[in-house]
Every structure is written in C-alpha cells, then in structure tokens.
C-alpha cells in the first residue's frame, strides 16, 4: 500500500487541468478584463491607465443606457411571465389529469431548442408584413394590426414574449418536481382540516416550495443577464438600437466596433452587478450549509 500522502497526491494531480482552467480561464480572464477596462485601448490593447474614463463614456452612451433599460424590461417580463405561466401549468398538471405526460412534453419541448431557433421562429410569426397580421387580414379581419416587432418602443416586449415561450416549461418542470415532493400527508391533513385546494396552495404549498422558486428565479436571472442569441436572431438589436442588450453591446464593441476598452468596461459592470446580486445567495446556498453539515 502506498502511503496516504501519495494517494492524496494523485488526487491533487488529477485536479491539475482544473486548476489550470480555474487560474487562467476564470480568474485570469476576469482580472485581465478589468485591467483593460481602465485603459484607453482601441482595436489593440494598450496598457496605460485612464481611470474610470471608459466607465464614464459607457454611462454617457445612449446605446448602453438603452441596453440596460431593455435588460430590465426583458428581465422583469421574462421572469414574472415564466414564473406565473410555469406555476399555473405545474399546478394544473398536478390535478390528476388525463394525458399529463403529453401536456408535459408539449410544455417543455421549446426549452430543448436554442434561443436562435426560438428567435427566428417568432420573428417569422410576428413578421409585420407576412406574419400574424397578414393571416388575420386573410381571414377577413382587415383592421387587425400587429407590428410590434417593427416598432422601436414595443419590439423588446416581443423578445420577452418569445423568451417566455421558450423557458416557461423549465419553471413548470422544476415546480412540478417540487409539488410531487410534497408529503402526501400534508394534503390529507389539509383535507381533514377542510382547507380549500387553492388555499392550500397559497398558504401551505407555495411557502413550502420557496426554495424551488428561488432556484427557478436564479436560473431565469442567469438567462436574463446572458441574453444575446435571441436578440440577434429576432431583431438584430433593431429597429435601430431599440432592442440592444448589454451582452450584445459587449460583443459588438469587442469584435465589430473594435473598442475593447469600452467593451471590457461594460463587461466589468455586468460582472460586478451579477456578483453583488448573486454573491450572497451563492454563499448562503452552498457554504453556510456546508459548515452546518460539517
């Protein structure tokens, strides 16, 4: 038998690729990105120091402000929409209905498709000339008008709508699993107590599933911050810059507009924002529990 220390050594050795990735691809890139955001780099990185100049430029940029506003609109609409629709679907599927498997399969299949596919399909359905509007005119409803995708003030809502279509099934799946995990006796006790079903959901089940809701919200929130593909596919950021989002802002300035300092400043803002919002939750979720278990 090899001595214990050697065995631990092979565990450490097995983690070398992981360490390389952690140090270079995660920690290194973050630091590098933040460093560039304090320079005056254009196409190529320049390692001078200009303080918060890029950040000031960023928040003076109309495009960035619109991106952030759009992210807020999209985020609220997407998260609330997915939660409400997903919860309703989960609860209704939990009522011992016929064909549950079929309904569940239908509700979840969009989640298997990419945001690119989602965006392209909905862009086609909502196409202002040949889409829904055209179909309604064909059916004789000639006054019907639906051109939100082509209107700068409305297009972002359509992106949100398509996002809900894609992800509501995810919330449904998570919450349905939660509902199925609730002790059968709780339902029995509530029936003996004479509590109506809707009241059981509101007063007992939803509070019991708060963890599931948080999980769903976190997953949706991550999708919100990362939102990029669906905008590219659905509107390309247009009309004009009316559906731009922060993630797209960064990519465009990095690779098309060749202003890497501004792009990295935007990326750093996203990073810090996510860290501030998610950090405490992550800590609570993983490390506090760990300590209690140990």
């Amino acid at each position: 038998m090899k001595p214990l220390r050697l065995r631990r050594l092979s565990a450490q050795a097995a983690l070398i690729p992981t360490w390389v990735i952690v140090i270079f691809a995660y920690l290194g890139t973050i630091l590098w990105t933040i460093r560039i955001s304090f320079t005056s780099s254009g196409i190529l990185p320049k390692y001078d120091f200009v303080g918060f100049e890029q950040y000031e430029r960023l928040f003076r940029s109309a495009r960035w402000i619109i991106s952030v506003q759009n992210l807020a609109i999209f985020g609220v609409m997407f998260i609330v929409g997915c939660l409400v629709l997903g919860f309703l679907m989960a609860v209704f599927l939990d009522q011992r209905i016929k064909g549950e498997g079929i309904f569940r399969t239908i509700f979840l299949y969009p989640y298997a498709m990419s945001f690119i596919v989602t965006g392209l399909v909905w862009a086609w359905i909502l196409n202002p000339t040949l889409g829904i509007q055209h179909a309604m005119h064909n059916w004789g409803w000639t006054s019907f008008s639906f051109d939100w995708l082509a209107r700068g003030d409305r297009a972002i809502y359509m992106v949100g709508f398509a996002g809900i279509w894609q992800s509501a099934g995810l919330v449904m799946a998570i919450l349905l699993a939660g509902l199925r995990g609730i002790d059968e006796d709780i339902w029995k006790a509530a029936r003996v107590d004479g509590i109506p079903t809707w009241r059981v959901y509101i007063s007992i089940v939803i509070p019991m599933m708060s963890g599931m809701f948080v999980t769903a919200i976190v997953l949706l929130a991550i999708a919100v911050v990362k939102v990029y593909d669906i905008v590219v596919a659905m509107t390309g950021g247009g009309p004009g810059i009316s559906t731009e989002v922060p993630a797209k802002f960064v990519i465009d300035y990095l690779f098309n507009r060749q202003n890497i300092a501004l792009a990295t400043a935007a990326a750093s803002v996203m990073f810090v924002a996510v860290l501030v919002v998610l950090g405490p939750w992550l800590y609570r979720q993983y490390f506090r529990k760990e300590r209690r278990a140990a």
Binding site: T29, Y109, I116
Partner: protein, 295 residues
C-alpha cells in the same frame, strides 16, 4: 331510510366547471406552445408565392420539398452557397469531443472534491460556482488572446477547449452533488480494500454513475448544440456550428428572403436537441432538476 339517495360505494363524479376550465387552460396552453412548431413545419413546405399571398397558419396547398433541398445544400451564408449541411458536420465535430471531455473532467472533479477533500477544494468550488453564474462576456476577450497565443484561436480544438472550460462548472456541480449522495462508507470500504484514487474512480464510482452520466450527456449535447456565442467567436470560419450558419442564412442580405428555406433550415437545426428531448423523456426533466444545481 328517509334519505332518497342512499350513499354507497364510490361517490359519483361530475365534470365540474372547474375541471372543464382546467382542461381548457391546458389545451389552450398546449396550442400556444405547439403553434410556432406548426408554423415552422407548414412554412417549410410552401412555395414562396404561396407564402406571400396566403397566411402563415394555413396548410400548404401543394407540398414542395424544394425549400428543404435548398436549405440543406444550396442556401447561402454570405458568399458561400453550400447550405446548412456544412454546419451540421461542424456541430457534430464540436459537440462529440466537447461532450465527452467536459463530462470526464466534471466527473473527476466531482469525485475528487466529494471524497478526497483536496487542498484548495473550496476555492475551486467557489470559482466554479461563480463561473456557472457570471455572464460569459467577462471572459471573452482575454480568452481570445490566450487561445491565439497557443495558436488555438479559430480552430476546432480551440472551440472544443472553450466548451470544456465553460461546461466544467455545471458538470462538476452535477457530479459533486451526485457523489455527495453516495455513502462515505462505500468510499471508506474501497480505501480499506486498498483502492487508490484512480482505481476507486474507475472501478467503484464510474460504474455506479450511470444515471448521472446520462443526465450529463443530455445537458451537454443539447447545450453545446444550441450554443451560438462561442461558435461565433471561437470556431473560426471553417468550423462554424449549425446555429451560426442558420443565423447567417436567415440574415443574409443578398436577394429576397426565402422564408420557407429559412424555416426548413431552422427545423434542421432544432432537430438534434428535439430528438434528444423526445427520446430521453423523463431523463431530460431529471437533467433540468440536476442542472438546477440545488446545493
């Protein structure tokens, strides 16, 4: 008995209004979710003149396979007119090694972190957690530079490395959670039987990881196939995955828009994850629950 109805046996069931409303909601919701798929399919079988005159919901008056042929072999992405088939091949070339490597790395990490408590394990775990949640935009530029330094930028191995890097957090968490549920006594027994790090991993842990391997494979196959951002940035012109090709076909500015071709190409792109979804059934749901990384 004075009671005209004498209750006995099962209570008779009536279809209550609530019950009808419930089914109405479900059917309505199902229609909402199916509609885009329906529109995609019917559009892909129509001719362009019919699309311009008719409406998106009607069935094709005469079936044409031409859009599918064009989408597969002739559609243009900018200057190239080779259809989406190039993208299919590229997507497979990217997806298969990336899936395999990221799962392997995740399994080793999860196993090492759960059972061997290596030095710095908590740091790895914290960084990976962070990595699972932070927008990719933060990593992109330096990663491009690093990969160019080692001549991997815009190459097939390069995009595979990127997928392995960004697949690692979820894969590690997945396996760590799975192994955390394995009784430590099993590990101790294997240690007493003289198993080392790799022996225990390959002989004891991997053979009992069947379910989680399936879940991981489902997550990675669909996730990598559906990726757009990394393919766009890291794959290089010769290895663009299908999603990027698709977007290029649809958004190409040359000529009139061929919506039927676009929809055929879209269905083709969605095909692989949809097949995975329908074949895997409940496993896909398990994947979601596991991917939800509950601590």
């Amino acid at each position: 008995m004075s009671d005209p109805i004498h209750p006995r046996g099962a209570k008779p069931r009536h279809l209550t209004p609530g019950r009808i409303g419930l089914y109405a909601f479900l059917v309505f919701a199902a229609a909402f979710f199916l509609l885009p798929f329906y529109v995609m399919v019917v559009t892909s079988f129509k001719t362009m003149p019919e699309i311009q005159q008719g409406n998106i919901f009607s069935l094709p008056s005469k079936l044409t396979l031409a859009p599918w042929v064009t989408a597969w072999a002739k559609a243009c992405t900018g200057v190239n007119c080779e259809g989406i088939r190039v993208g299919v091949l590229n997507s497979f070339k990217i997806m298969i090694p990336s899936t395999f490597l990221s799962i392997l790395l995740g399994a080793i990490n999860g196993y090492a972190l759960s059972f061997w408590r290596p030095r710095g394990g908590n740091l790895i775990f914290a960084v990976l957690l962070m990595g699972a949640f932070i927008p990719y935009q933060v990593y992109l530029y330096p990663l491009v530079r690093m990969l160019s330094m080692v001549s991997l930028y815009n190459t097939l191995p390069g995009i595979i490395v990127v997928h392995v890097i960004f697949g690692m957090p979820v894969m590690t968490l997945l396996f760590r959670n799975y192994y955390a549920a394995v009784p430590v006594d099993l590990f101790k027994a294997a240690r007493i039987d003289g198993g080392g790090f790799w022996t225990i991993f390959t002989r004891v842990m991997l053979p009992m990881s069947g379910p989680i391997l399936v879940v991981a494979a489902i997550l990675q196959v669909t996730g990598i196939w559906n990726d757009f951002l990394f393919g766009l940035i890291f794959a290089g012109r010769d290895h663009l995955p299908m999603t990027v090709e698709l977007n290029n076909i649809v958004n190409t500015t040359t000529g009139t828009k061929a919506y039927n071709v676009n929809m055929a190409a879209t269905i083709l792109t969605a095909m692989v994850p949809l097949i995975v979804y329908f074949v895997s059934g409940r496993w896909f749901v398990r994947g979601i629950a596991a991917g939800a990384v509950k601590g």
